[in-house]
Amino acid sequence: MTTTTAVGESIEQFRDRFVRITREVGRRIVGHEEIVNLTVTSLLAGGHVLLEGIPGVGKTSLVHTLADVLHLTFSRIQFTPDLMPADIVGTNIVQEHSHGGTFFEFQPGPIFANVVLADEINRATPKTQSALLEAMQEVSVSVGKTTYKLEQPFFVMATQNPLEMEGTYPLPEAQLDRFFFKLKVMYPPEEAMHEILERTTRDGDATVSRVVDGPAILEMRHVARSVAIARPVQAYAIRLTLGTHPDSPYASPLVKRYVRYGASPRAAQALVLAAKIQALNRGLGFVSVDDVRAVALPALRHRVLLNFEGEADEVNTDTIVGELLQTVGA
């Protein structure tokens, strides 16, 4: 009885924190409730987010606000073609002792923060991108012969602009796969535009309070992984993942026609983990098929690689995943 009561309290606490985070972010970010929800989900799952949207829709503001609300260290890296890996991870600098002599001292780069904003990540060279993506995957950086662990929670939010693609270096599929979610930040609706103008054109800025700190985030991550998931629900997540492969029996017609490679097992992990957080966010201690479906689009859309015909026909991977949700039975 005690254990079940503790579980219930954990769920309530998780939900309460989640709601407080999104509410505080919502005080500054208007019209992107779903993006905020999924971003926090990714943070609590230990993943990283790739935000894609046109300039000026609030991507950077979202990251700033989230860092403020979470009481975490924040750094921003503006990716440019001449950005070097050392500019991200840091470098050894020759220092002089007070008593004479020199020595190498590691100067951490901007990657050493809890929340990192990699702005316009596709404008840097693949070499620099790889440095960031390695840090995202390993949660550590290697400089010289020394490996430095990054502080947890470590959360990277990369943005990229779908326009002005000239002179950019699109992320390879292997590196895209390392992002937990790919979120498309759309233009805010008309009503939200009114709210945005009222908040940003007045004297003074909306202030947000810090509702959660780093240890609380880590605790929430632990709680999220404890949620029970029944085998049929897990099987549904697996079928969805396998359905993105053109030679799979679960593949939809669009997948068979336009997809070259489907999602990796990492996608299934993302589906299940994100579904668990969605369940907790609903105050439940189990995962349902609806939870899996709710996170299928952001978890799968960047893991589906189109073939030549799909690229030529400018097929949207959202359409493919949407059809998959319709065809794969629960």
Binding site: T3, T4, A6, V7, G8, S226, V227, A228, I229, A230, R231, P232, V233, L284, G285, F286, V287, S288, V289, D290, D291, A330
Partner: protein, 457 residues
């Protein structure tokens, strides 16, 4: 009982019991819905068949059998659909959706059915919490409200009415072939015979009087006053009545007494008894036999009589060889056999019966000695046969080879007839008929055939 078990116990037991109960309610409702959607249509089909059967003369047992099969099939389906069976994940998902539990029931049911020792979730407080919460929610659900009993009042009424209609049509509505026909052991041939039977219950009163007088005359004073012509006249009238050509007032018009089946049968028995009277002339006895057959309403007796006639004819052919023509006009083998024999013999009484120079009057052979009657389906009656034999005897005495008998011409004529017989018969059958004996009389008919010929002698 299941409900009581579901209200107590551990959370996983409650989940399992509640789900089993809900699944049973769901299947009961689904099967009831399908049942009452189908039952009126099945009953309607049975009623339609019963109606058609009444018109077409089918026995009523057909409708009842169809109704029984339909109702039995539906009952079997209901029994099959409601049988106890384990709840599957699909069932759990359906129940979960129905109760708007958003996946909780489906998930809990899976955890409740996983053996603890084989599960990685054993002693997992999250699973226990999940099951406990699911059990609490399941206890609060009124499954009977979610799956209420199927009312289907209109369907039930329609099914009951149509079923009663089928039974009434099958059991109480008289048809052209009532149920008693099959109940008495009738078969298809009997039904056909019955269809051509004399409408005994609607005989004209004048005809009834004539039959009564004739039978009385046959029974009085040894029947000496009764002539074959009288009986033949009566038979002719009966034939006309059967063909619907008689212009007589019917007994059924209400002015004359109604002739029941029992009356008709009694008259037939009297005629048959009179036909056995040895004091009567053979022609009269045969005519009385025909009268008895026409009056008789017993299909078995009629069929037996017809069968006797056919078999007797066949036996007679065998005995008399080329003297007689085959009575069974449809029996190609017998017919061809006789024709071959006729052609080979080239003379005798059979020659006279075959044909004469007047081809226009030549007709196919009939029953026995009286062939040439022209009616393929019916043999000649005994008076006809006797008259023909007398005529033949006279002609045989008066004709002498030479002046007025053209033997050559006759032979050609006979040969021509024989050739015609060949064309009517299948060559292969004719060859077999020429080389093999006719089929033997069945043992169960042998006594009847013997009695038939004994009586005529």
């Amino acid at each position: 009982m299941v409900q009581d078990l579901g209200r107590t116990g551990t959370p996983d037991e409650i989940v399992r019991a509640e789900l089993a109960r809900a699944d049973r309610l769901r299947r009961v409702r689904a099967s009831s819905a399908r049942l009452w959607r189908t039952a009126p249509w099945a009953s309607a089909v049975c009623a339609l068949v019963a109606g058609i059967g009444r018109v077409a003369g089918w026995p009523g047992i057909v409708s009842i059998a169809l109704l029984t099969i339909a109702l039995g099939s539906l009952a079997g389906y209901v029994f099959y659909a409601r049988r106890p069976r384990p709840v599957t994940d699909v069932d759990a998902a359906d129940l979960d959706s129905r109760a708007s539990l958003r996946g909780e029931l489906r998930s809990a049911y899976w955890f409740a059915n996983v053996p603890a020792e084989a599960s990685a979730h054993a002693e997992n407080p999250w699973v226990e919490f999940h099951l406990a919460r699911a059990a609490d929610r399941l206890r609060a659900i009124d499954w009977s409200a979610l799956y209420p009993a199927e009312r289907a009042t209109r369907e039930k009424i329609a099914t009951a009415l149509l079923t009663v209609l089928v039974l009434v049509a099958a059991l109480f509505v008289p048809g052209r072939s009532p149920l008693s026909a099959l109940a008495s052991g009738g078969n298809a041939s009997d039904v056909r015979l019955r269809g051509s039977a004399l409408p005994s219950t609607s005989l004209p009163s004048a005809l009834l009087d004539q039959i009564e007088k004739l039978l009385t005359a046959a029974e009085a004073s040894g029947g000496k006053a009764l002539t074959a012509a009288q009986v033949q006249d009566l038979l002719a009238k009966l034939d006309q009545l059967k063909a619907g050509k008689a212009d007589m007032p019917r007994a059924a018009d209400g002015k004359a007494p109604q002739l029941t089946k029992a009356d008709a049968k009694a008259l037939a028995e009297r005629a048959r008894k009179d036909a056995d009277n040895p004091d009567l002339e053979p022609e009269v006895r045969d005519a009385l036999t025909d009268l008895a057959n026409k009056l008789s309403d017993d299909p078995q007796q009629r069929a037996s009589t017809a069968q006797d006639a056919r078999e007797a004819s066949g036996a007679k052919d065998t005995q008399q060889g080329d003297t007689a023509q085959s009575a069974a006009a449809g029996d190609k083998q017998d017919g061809s056999t006789q024709s071959v024999k006729d052609a080979a013999s080239g003379g005798g009484v059979g020659i006279v019966m075959m044909n004469n120079e007047d081809g226009a009057k030549s007709k196919e052979a009939g029953l026995g000695l009286g062939g040439g009657d022209g009616d393929n389906a019916k043999g000649g009656s005994m008076p006809d046969l006797a008259a023909a034999l007398r005529k033949e005897t006279v002609e045989a005495k008066t004709d002498n080879p030479g002046e007025n008998v053209f033997t050559g011409v006759n032979r050609k004529t006979e040969h021509g007839d024989a050739a015609l017989a060949y064309t009517h018969a299948q060559p292969g059958a004719a060859e077999r008929g020429h080389s093999t004996a006719p089929p033997a009389v069945p043992d169960n008919r042998r006594a009847a055939v013997k009695g038939y010929f004994t009586r005529k002698q």
